[in-house]
């Protein structure tokens, strides 16, 4: 009993402390600088683009860099753990897509909501999940963010509605979340993410329609990484310009490999929707280096050269690092130190998470129904429940 309370408490604390370790990188000064994003960052559909001028502080840039570095390390650690069978089930990594999660979180507050599909480890991290709780969840331990019962695809956090397995099913769900935000007259928005493969699901269009009719603060974000598992976007979609698929909903295509462009787009989008201008469709043009999941090598439908090319020219972390160095906000050595720290933090979390125990076997029967309304027995657990037998 006590252990469950303390574990729940510590979990709550850890959710809000997710970024506490970043504080050590805050410097005394908060020098701001104006950066002009390249013209190619945005493409519009039935709207005007956000401003290309973005004001950032040194702290912020370093913080963004750090988050992306940690995320990259975390995903790499998950890759290794999966291969050594510490993680079971299906595991979908977002290596290469870090800028989307980090940029989005930088533009919004804790009270805005995010919902996404199964490539959710990065989002869970930025939404307050600690690395420890994410890795523990992946390994199916009690300390995991879903108490070990969800696994890779079902991670949840405050105002982060998962972590959803069925492709496209999260889009109408997210629209419902946006509805409550409007109903309660909060100045918050919901970011509803789906992939280029999911963009062809019927329910996505049902959600578009409902969001537009009610003018909801719903921002539909298509993470276009060009492949729906093994099918190239051009072969699955008659219209692969996903930001135009909203038809009657204005859209913006964003360079999803540039964290600052993502941030700018998301804050513009939040501003738009919370001022009663209705929903938006964003398309984040990004790329995943790994396969669709750990069971997919990722090379049977694309060439290694392509992956290498993207890694060397468009990598979000390298891009931000170049920016930081050009602005003189940091030196090569300091950044290397940052990365080393990130690696150390993740390694420590891996070691800690591996020691965590698995959930009690009684957890198989909890959370099926609301507490207090469970049926008196769930048949099949005990032989005595085949009541007819033992009269």
């Amino acid at each position: 009993m006590l252990s469950s309370i303390t574990s729940r408490l510590s979990r709550n604390i850890s959710v809000f402390n997710g970024r506490s370790f970043v504080r050590q990188f805050a410097s005394a000064s908060a020098e701001t600088v104006n950066i002009k994003l390249p013209e190619s960052s945005f493409k519009t559909y039935k709207c005007d683009p956000p401003s290309l001028d973005i004001e950032v502080t040194k702290d912020e840039l370093l913080r963004l860099y750090n988050e992306m570095a940690v995320m990259r390390r975390m995903e790499t650690a998950a890759d290794g753990l999966y291969k050594s069978k510490m993680i079971r089930g299906f595991c979908h990594l977002c290596t290469g897509q870090e800028a989307v999660a980090v940029g989005m979180e930088a533009a919004i507050t804790e009270d805005d909501a995010i919902i996404t599909a199964y490539r959710c480890h990065g989002f869970t991290y930025v939404r307050g999940g600690t690395i420890h709780s994410i890795l523990a969840e992946l390994m199916g331990r009690k300390a995991g963010i879903s108490r070990g019962k969800g696994g890779s695809m079902h991670m949840f956090s405050k105002n982060f509605y998962g972590g959803n397995g069925i492709v496209g099913a999260q889009v109408p769900v997210g629209t419902g979340v946006a509805f409550t935000q409007k109903y309660l007259e909060k100045k918050n928005a919901t970011f509803i993410l789906y992939g280029d493969g999911a963009a062809n699901q019927g329910q996505v269009f049902e959600a578009f329609n409902m969001a537009k009719l009610c003018d909801l603060p719903a921002i539909f974000v298509c993470e276009n990484n060009f492949f729906g598992m093994g099918t190239a976007a051009g072969r699955s979609s008659a219209n692969a310009q996903y930001y135009t698929r909203g038809q009657y909903i204005p859209g913006l295509q964003v360079n999803g490999m540039d964290v600052l462009a993502v941030k700018q787009a998301c804050s513009w989008a939040k501003n738009w929707t919370t001022n009663d201008q209705g929903p938006l469709v964003l398309e984040m043009v990004t790329y995943r280096y790994g396969g669709h999941s750990m069971s997919d090598p990722g090379t049977s439908y694309r060439t290694r050269e392509e992956i290498q090319h993207m890694r060397s020219t468009k990598d979000p972390i390298t891009g931000l690092r170049q920016r930081i160095l050009e602005l003189g906000f940091s030196t090569d050595d300091e950044i290397k130190k940052l990365e080393k720290e990130a690696r150390a933090v993740v390694e420590e979390a891996v070691a800690e998470a591996q020691k965590e125990p698995q959930p009690d076997e009684s957890e198989i029967f909890t959370n099926i129904y609301a507490k207090g309304t469970e049926p008196p027995i769930i048949r099949g657990r005990e032989r005595e429940e085949f009541a007819v037998m033992n009269q």
């Binding site: 299906f90 099918t231 699955s236 069971s295 439908y301 698995q358 048949r379 657990r381 032989r383």
Partner: protein
């Protein structure tokens, strides 16, 4: 007090998988864990999506020699009885069946998510190259669209072989299957039908599938009149049943236990042959207990029976593979229960309203006075299919053995 099934399981499968075995369960421990231990010790490569089930290779129901394979009475009349066979696993057998279907039927096409490069389980490997991209093609990620599209083609009279990548994703297409496909013939008074539609989908537990890669949704569809539901247990069966399903003049849902794709390897006749739908097969004759199952569960039942027959001298169990779930072969099972008086049914799907409920009730209606003990159902728990708790959830060998013992000792 006899140890509960659950506690037995927990002791065997708890945190430390190599816990000291209880003397009572020593042989269960040995049989089960030697294979698992070996696999867990190798590292480096992630487990294949189809999982491992090494025990299947030792099964007596797997026909690993040509002689065994061709001895099948159902193949006698098909023309492959004296033909050559080839060693194939289940996905290769299914691949072969589809190749034959496309060769013999001009209007047959195969479509689904990622099928052109071979599919996530390689079932369609090489078919796009052989028959062209206009006959074997990818669809976008839209299950409802896929099945609806197939229904339309079939309504015109073509043969549509749709693949739903995992049975867990069949639910967006549920309306199309239940409201359109199943009722087409009935509502048009016979003017139109979608007999040419076959929906293939990998189903069942795989060891690491979790909520959305392990479900067995057969019960949702057997409840719908107008649909045929088939689940094979092995490569020879899969090829014959799939060809029969494709050529059957009713819409068929062909569920393939994904763990058997690689695990089951047999000498499969290379010719064109069909196995009858709607007929069960008696895999093992016995006189004391009738055990009924389908798909991958049969191998678990085989092990449970072996153990029970060892523990209870003189016991002989009859194992029946239903093969077709809708319509299912009531007569074979009823005849068997009239002989034995005891029935155990097992499947992975949750117990409440699972297919075992249908079998149990039908047999109760027919064999009431003959039954010596209440009918036992050994099924999955009434919970969502868990990831970490999978071993507790599935009706494994221990639970099935226990049910057989229960019904014998009543």
């Amino acid at each position: 007090m006899q140890t509960s099934r659950f506690t037995l399981l927990y002791r065997n499968f708890a945190n430390n998988i190599y816990s000291k075995p209880l003397s009572r369960n020593r042989f269960i421990h040995k049989a089960f864990f030697h294979a698992t231990k070996k696999i867990l010790q190798t590292s480096g490569a992630p487990p294949p999506a189809e999982g491992y089930l090494p025990g299947v290779a030792q099964s007596k129901f797997i026909k690993s020699t040509q002689e065994e394979a061709l001895k099948n009475s159902e193949l006698m009349n098909t023309g492959v009885a004296n033909g050559e066979t080839k060693k194939m696993n289940m996905f290769q057998a299914i691949n072969d069946a589809m190749g034959i279907a496309l060769t013999t039927d001009e209007t047959a096409v195969i479509f689904g998510e990622d099928v052109a490069f071979g599919g996530v389980f390689r079932c369609t490997l090489g078919l796009a190259e052989m028959f062209g991209r206009d006959r074997v093609f990818n669809t976008p990620l839209s299950e409802q669209g896929i099945v609806g599209f197939g229904i339309g083609m079939a309504a015109v009279g073509h043969t549509a072989i749709a693949e739903i990548q995992f049975a867990d994703y069949i639910f967006p297409a549920f309306d199309q299957l239940v409201n359109e496909a199943a009722k087409y013939r009935y509502r048009s008074g016979g003017l139109f039908n979608v007999g040419g539609l076959t929906v293939r989908s990998p189903c069942s537990a795989v060891g690491h599938g979790g909520h959305y890669h392990s479900q067995s949704p057969e019960a949702y569809f057997t409840h719908t009149p107008g649909l045929i539901v088939v689940m094979p247990r092995s490569p020879i069966q899969a090829k014959g049943l799939l060809l029969a399903s494709i050529r059957d003049r009713n819409p068929v849902i062909f569920l393939e236990p994904k763990i058997l794709y690689r695990a089951a390897v047999e000498e499969v006749p290379v010719g064109d042959y069909e196995l009858p739908l709607g007929k069960a097969e008696i895999l093992k004759s016995g006189k004391d207990v009738t055990v009924v199952g389908y798909g991958s569960q049969l191998y678990t039942l085989e092990n449970a029976i072996k153990l029970a027959e060892k523990d209870i001298p003189g016991l002989s169990c009859e194992l029946i593979d239903l093969r077709s779930l809708s319509p299912w072969d009531v007569d074979t099972v009823a005849n068997s229960v009239n002989k034995t008086g005891r029935l155990v049914i097992s499947h992975e799907a949750p117990q409440t309203s699972g297919f075992a409920a249908e079998v149990a009730t039908s047999i109760m209606e027919r064999c009431f006075l003959r039954l010596e003990a209440p009918i036992q159902r050994v099924c999955g728990l009434d919970t969502p299919f868990p990831l970490i708790f999978e071993k507790f959830y599935v009706p494994d060998m221990t639970k099935c053995y226990d049910a057989i013992k229960e019904v014998v000792n009543y």
